[in-house]
């Protein structure tokens, strides 16, 4: 499969017509049994969908059409994302689409674009993200994995951790230290690594939910061709920070917890809890926390639709969305009473519900992508302008 430029100009369609086409396609083609999954799907489960979208030309809605994407305007992109959420479509391994593609388009060489973009579109290259290290979590810039130039190669030594689905990825985009003598942010470079390179060892880590989704990756004298450096040497921090607006608001989407809220409502109804004013008070408070999240979310969506750059204040979205989600899963657990500790999907008074999965999966939501505490630091420093 080569680089098939999408012929349709979706931006020329009316919003309603575009939404209708996307919705119909999703409803007709997305596997029913994979809707609203509580966990990350494995490549074996989701790859058919990836290939389906790829053949349709819809796998990279955010990429320009000349690179095989849909070239959606911010307005249309929001609609596309809304329809994904509405239908409960699971997240495929999308780092190549969301991160690597746009980064190569902006910072990469022609050669890199030609080599990687078509293979990402085709699902031939699956990327994982090599950022965190055992001693570089929230303080990511202190990462130590070393890349030392040796002729036409960089030689990598070090360790990455919390690398989601590394065991199923063909490639890693990785931040490495290329200068130890300067300010920590100024000595980091961005590279692409083939996971089959000798010296790469992947060890999956079992998470609280019982799944092996994240991994440790050990790098021992791994030789990476010098042409795999993306952008300039020691400019990796800037490249990694150039996050897309969509990613920054998508994490705060109010639709993510909708399914859990409906399950909670069903369960509460079957238990007669809506006759209990104490429960109704707590439930309504949570519902309004989510409804009001939608109000502030749409404020940011409008900014993105206008093509404007989001400010640091968008951090508040992640804090509120994720903390609200956690409280929702906690109430679900409480309402389930003794069933609240039973693993897997169970039938409680006629309602089929997995109580523990949402509870588990909402835990790291306040840790990954910048913990709630880091988000608060960002708001304190850049928005409230408090001293350090």
């Amino acid at each position: 499969m080569g680089q098939t430029a999408t012929m349709t100009d979706y931006n020329a369609m009316s919003d309603d017509a575009f939404r209708g086409e996307v919705r119909t396609y999703f409803e007709q083609h997305y596997p029913q049994d994979l809707r609203f999954m509580a966990r990350r799907l494995r490549w074996a489960e989701i790859r058919d969908w990836y290939f389906t979208l790829s053949r349709k030309g819809w796998i990279a809605p955010n990429w320009p059409r000349e690179y095989g994407g849909m070239g959606l305007s911010p307005q249309k992109m929001i609609i596309f994302l809304e329809e994904i959420e509405r239908w409960g479509i699971a997240r495929a391994p999308d780092h190549g689409i969301v991160q690597v593609g746009p980064i190569l388009i902006k910072f990469g060489s022609d050669q890199q674009r030609k080599e990687y973009l078509p293979k990402i579109l085709a699902g031939e290259y699956i990327f994982c993200q090599g950022y965190s290290e055992p001693n570089a979590g929230s303080d990511l810039a202190s990462l130590r994995t070393a890349a030392v130039r040796d002729g036409d190669h960089f030689v990598l030594n070090g360790q990455k951790i919390w690398t989601t689905l590394a065991q199923e990825s063909t490639h890693m985009y990785i931040l490495v230290r290329t200068d130890t003598t300067v300010k920590k942010q100024a000595g980091i470079s961005f590279m692409l690594l083939d996971m089959k390179t000798p010296g790469v060892t992947v060890r999956p880590i079992r998470n609280l939910a019982g799944h092996e989704e994240f991994c440790e990756v050990f790098l021992e004298n791994v030789r990476v061709p010098a042409e795999n450096l993306v952008g300039e040497l020691n400019r990796g921090w800037t490249i990694a920070k150039a996050l897309l607006s969509f990613e920054r608001i998508n994490i705060g989407s109010p639709r993510r917890p909708q399914y859990a809220l409906k399950r909670l409502a069903q369960l509460a109804k079957s238990k007669g809890l809506f006759d209990d004013p104490g429960f109704v008070d707590r439930f309504t408070e949570l519902r309004l926390d989510m409804t009001d999240l939608a109000s502030i979310y749409s404020r940011y969506v409008e900014i993105v639709k206008r093509g404007e750059v989001l400010g640091q204040d968008v951090s508040l979205l992640k804090i509120w969305a994720m903390e609200t989600w956690q409280r929702l899963t906690e109430l679900l657990m409480e309402v389930a009473q003794e069933y609240g500790c039973v693993a897997g999907e169970i039938d409680i008074d006629g309602v089929k519900v997995d109580v523990l999965s949402p509870f588990y999966y909402s835990r790291p939501a306040t840790i990954y992508g910048g913990s709630s505490e880091i988000q608060r630091n960002i708001l304190a420093k850049y928005v409230l302008n408090l001293p350090s």
Partner: protein, 381 residues
């Protein structure tokens, strides 16, 4: 409301509010009026009339600006930042809104121009008991008296009553088409007695007693056919504008706290450098942003005149969120300031006390959340 002028009206109003708060009012004035049973200043009220604020929701035919809640919110929010004590929401939104929506054209013709000019200050006396927004939960009565009406009853929680010139009173009429009606009752009418309850912020709730008060049929603001709708709408709209006031109050209280954190030095550093306090301030900022997002989403939606359930649900969301956030931010402002925050001399307390009043008036957060739950059942599928 004429669409193309929306933005220019908003900009002009914002400018007039800015000018007014710089020159026309101060916290010293607010403090002085705290001890005054008159509660507010009728010369300032006249100024507000000249700025067009008293006629924002009044049709142009009656001398008003014919604008919407979006514009009223700009003014209310701006004035609340400086704790302006004049009863803009009580008179120009709640009472005037009821009169405008009523079905007595002749009475509108005679009263509205005086209201817009600031010469007549009306308040709405609808409530008799705490803890309900049900406008029919009343005992006040109107009994037919030879073509006129005789009113009896007691009304409570009447904001702005201290210096009002008259009251729009809800009663149940006891004739054939029995039901809720609204009457205009001038302050000086015989049988009218007003008692004042002092509120946290030094303002007052009026307790109005009507003892065989004789009113002509011509003073019926709204008849049985419309009175309930008129009241429900006026209360929803006023609750939203109170939400705007709360946004003004919390915005100023938060700014005050953050400024204090930057200047107050302990342990050799500005206390704003301590992470525990930073995160505390950020949580307040998050609540403030959510409150203002809910308000800003509700205002244009309400100006598009939605059905009654949508309107009430929006109003409840705004009042619940703004009350909760307003109270939290002003409470924590005291904590962030430390002991100085607990003194009467320092301004943080003024903001807390105003938030306490605004949060309680027209239904507190809990009450509005419960109403929302009744109005909008949860989704099960």
């Amino acid at each position: 409301m004429s669409e193309p002028d929306d933005d220019s009206h908003a900009a002009l109003l914002a400018q007039s509010v800015d000018d007014f708060v710089k020159r026309g009012t101060s916290l010293a004035r607010v403090r002085k009026l705290r001890d005054d049973p008159a509660e507010y200043d009728r010369t300032i009220w006249k100024t507000m009339a000249e700025l067009g604020w008293l006629g924002m929701l009044v049709p142009e035919a009656y001398g008003g600006l014919g604008l919407g809640l979006s514009e009223a919110a700009i003014v209310a929010r701006g004035l609340a930042r400086e704790l302006v004590p004049e009863p803009l929401t009580a008179a120009a939104v709640l009472a005037t809104g009821a009169l405008v929506a009523g079905d007595n054209g002749a009475l509108q013709q005679s009263l509205l121009p005086q209201i817009v000019a600031g010469d007549l200050l009306p308040v709405l006396a609808w409530q008799e008991r705490a803890g309900t927004l049900d406008v029919t939960a009343i005992n006040a009565q109107a009994i037919a008296a030879k073509g006129d009406w005789r009113l009896n009853g007691e009304k409570r929680f009447i904001a702005g009553a201290a210096g009002a010139d008259g009251y729009i009173v809800s009663v149940v009429s006891t004739v054939a088409a029995a039901g809720l009606e609204l009457y205009w009752v001038p302050r000086e009418a015989e049988g009218v007695a007003l008692r004042l309850e002092t509120l946290a912020d030094g303002r007052h709730f009026g307790v109005l007693t009507l003892n065989d008060v004789l009113v002509p049929a011509a003073h019926r603001v709204a008849g049985v056919a419309v009175a309930r709708t008129v009241l429900d709408q006026a209360i929803d709209h006023a609750a939203v504008i109170v939400g705007a006031e709360l946004c003004g109050v919390m915005g100023r209280a938060l700014a005050m706290s953050v400024d204090y954190m930057k200047t107050r030095v302990q342990f050799g550093k500005a206390i704003g450098s301590f992470q525990a306090l930073q995160h505390r301030a950020v949580d307040l900022y998050v609540q403030q942003q959510i409150a203002s997002a809910v308000l800003e989403e509700a205002l244009p939606a309400l100006d598009r005149k939605p059905d009654a359930v949508t309107r009430a649900a929006l109003a409840s969301r705004v009042k619940a969120r703004c009350s909760e956030a307003g109270l939290r931010i002003t409470r924590e402002a005291i904590q962030i300031h430390g002991a100085i925050g607990f003194t009467d001399e320092y301004d943080a307390g003024l903001y807390l006390k105003r938030a306490v009043v605004l949060a309680a008036w027209l239904g507190n957060a809990q009450e509005h959340r419960r109403r929302y739950a009744r109005l909008v059942p949860p989704e099960f599928e």
